[in-house]
Symmetry: C2
Subunit: 125 residues, 2 copies
């Protein structure tokens, strides 16, 4: 199963210039698989902890969206001075989180998460 | 002062096809000005309440980003099945929130918020 997951993660990581890390994580904050090739490039920033921290917002955002009839949550993105994070639920239990440099191709990142999420959902089921 | 605020809000609203509403709001959830021309187009969805609800996430996200050295928060976007919301802090006390249909031009919305936020920061100071 791990290859079916590692493959799409590598596609996303290689496909976006400026990708720092990509992780497939459970809603409980436990990672299934992570690509984080050069942690030293951003040593002051704790990308992994930030993913876990942001993931705790996911259920909150999801509930709000449903409460106000905006429908199911498809994507959450957070841009800060030194890092952009795009988070996309894969199914009820797992989500993808892609960390990018601020100058990375945001649109390409969103696109790859969107097209590869169903592949990962299939691998997890 | 209200014209200096209404002007940029109209520019954003007119500039993005698929814009449902744009609001300049205090971090406390009180709106300064809102353009919400056709509420009947999305009568099942309570866009205004959703903005207030999401705004409560802002300070949380901001604190997390700073804690993990990602720097100041620049943008938060939330895409759901029936609505996309882009939120951008204008200064310490106010933020812009743009509600879009899912098929609207997301990139154009982000761009207009980014370039007009400084104008609004000037009008508020």
């Amino acid at each position: 199963m791990i290859d079916e997951i590692r493959g799409p993660l590598e596609k996303i990581h290689r496909g976006v210039q400026g990708a720092l890390a990509i992780t497939l994580m459970g809603m409980d904050g436990l990672p299934v698989d992570t690509l984080h090739p050069n942690p030293s490039d951003h040593e002051d920033m704790d990308v992994s902890s930030l993913v876990v921290e942001y993931s705790s917002l996911l259920s909150q955002v999801r509930n709000s969206a449903q409460m106000f009839a905006a429908g199911g949550l498809e994507e959450l993105s957070i841009s800060s001075e030194h890092l952009t994070m795009i988070i996309r639920p894969v199914n009820e239990e797992y989500f993808l989180a892609l960390a990018l440099t601020p100058s990375a191709n945001f649109g390409k990142g969103r696109y790859l998460l969107r097209v590869l999420a169903p592949t990962l959902a299939g691998a997890l089921s």
